[in-house]
Amino acid sequence: MQTQEAIVQGLAAEPKLNYLTNGWTIKSWLLTKDHKRIAIMYLISVSVFFFMGGLYAGAIRLELLTPASDLLESGTYNKVFTQHGILMIFFFLIPSIPAILGNFLLPLMIGAKDLALPRINLLSLYIYWAGGALVLFALMQGGIDTGWTFYAPYSTTFSNTYVMLVGLGIFINGFSSILTGLNFIVTIHTMRAPGMTWFRLPLFVWAHYATSLVMILGTPVIAITILLLALERVGKIGIFDPSIGGDPILFQHLFWFYSHPAVYIMILPGMGVISELISNFSRKKIFGYEFIAFSSIAIAVFGFLVWGHHMFISGQSMYAGLVFSFLTMVVAVPSAIKVFNWTATLYKGSITFDTPMLYALGFLGLFLIGGLTGLFLGAMGLTVHLTDTYFIVAHFHYVMVGGQVIAYLGGIHYWWPKMTGKMYSEFWGKISAMLIFVGFNLTFFPQFILGYLGMPRRYASYPEELQVLNIFSTAGASVLGVGLLMPVVYLGHSLIFGKAAGDNPWMLPGLEWRTASPPPTENFEKMPVVTWEAYEFGEENGLDLEGARKRDAEAIPTT
């Protein structure tokens, strides 16, 4: 059977020139058109920004250990949380999975040699570096204190910080996002291998297609918003100034038109990873493939209709609030459908608790809490009490960190052997995953309570009776920090000392597992012809994990 042959052949591949060893000069990396090298360069850059954003988070939690604003005074604290937000959102979360895992895996998963537009891919990376460098420069000059949402009129009129420079950096970075999305859409349409029909695509690909739609349709609007902000700072016309007839809420409409769909950019790729992890580590075909695929598209589309739920108390009309509130309830439905389908996939699956699966299971619980609290916030009555409190902070960290970051880590671990050809230490992987889970919950669950009790966000000081919960939160943050640093150590260690992973260490049916680890530059020795459906497991397909592991131990020498 072709499937079985293909997998057996994959097992027996000999070491050859792969994408890492194909050229050792700096020029061969910086001028590469290979999507895999671009993905690795993104990995390094994005990790740097993640680390810096993490430092700012550490500063926030340290300050909030005590009720008084003693470690950082208010002006500095404003800069710290603003910069934490900007670095994490624009330079870590939005690129993370698409630019790293998406870039690396999309052509492999569809059986292509590269993305459709490799030079655009490289341009996207350069633009990311340019935007990032500009923002870093601005931070070193003195930073920005407007909040990552840089609302008018503070950002246009009153702030004395480097709003223009940071704005320009984000503006430029937006084009990196747009070009990546553009590239993915073209690739998925035109570069699929023969036999790879739409409904044989891995759900990771569907998720990235939906994400790319959002990137293309939404990002230009934040670009124009930043442009208007810059023009206001320079020209002082007053389009956001009510005293001359302008409207500050117009800024918010334009801002959130992008920034709400942006949060879907910051979860859909993670959901794609989770679909892969859940199915592959329960060795069971995903339940409700079409439902999950169409839900991804539905989330992308409906996500554009709900931005006003960030503006319930801003002064927009109550009627508009009503419409946005109703649609917010609607947009939760596709996400819920996905969670049900993942859970159904687990049922009667043959689950192995490898590190990636630990992350996937963690995602299910944490995303559930994050999503449900989002529904609380979508209800207008409740939101009046909870807006601008720590409840919001806890909600979005549950979905963004408990969702996307957990999925990102799961994906990095899952595809690490494919990307590097090495296996990491499973022991340290599990320890780290559990530390992250515990640390995360200890950090952010108390924040729900704090928010409900009324602690406002973006304040350096708070009433004394809230200190105990804040101490829990900071303690959790320390654990989370340790947990997040550990992969840097053991993954780095694996690059040099790790056991050589075979081409298909977990015996999985995906197309990316049917080529060498690490893959050759052109991805496949022979263009694959796909004759199987997605997620086909079972002994008849040659995917007998137990048997293969036994053969592995005999056939491939362990180093």
Binding site: L217, H253, F304, Q316, S317, M318, Y319, A320
Partner: protein, 108 residues
Amino acid sequence: MSDNHQEHEHMSIAKYFIVFGILFVGTIVTYVVALTDLDGMFFAGANTLVALAIAFFKMMCVILFFMHVYWSPKLIKLSAVASFFWLAIMFAYTMQDYLTRGTGVFGQ
């Protein structure tokens, strides 16, 4: 094997000039109609409606014939339609706020 175009020519030169003529006339009509007071004759906003309708028609001529969308695959047609749909979302949902402001009671 070199590429295989079904249609080498979408339109003849004469047809391009005809479309151009339509666009030219459309512009003149827009200008002249703008000078007449349709708002007084029909309803408030009539001038704007007519101007936008003509502009929309001109745009369709450019999109379908100059940009060859008439002969393009469905995906391209869908992209063109979808982008206007998204514009409509942005306009409609923003304006639903502005048009319903007041004391918080419907319609006032």
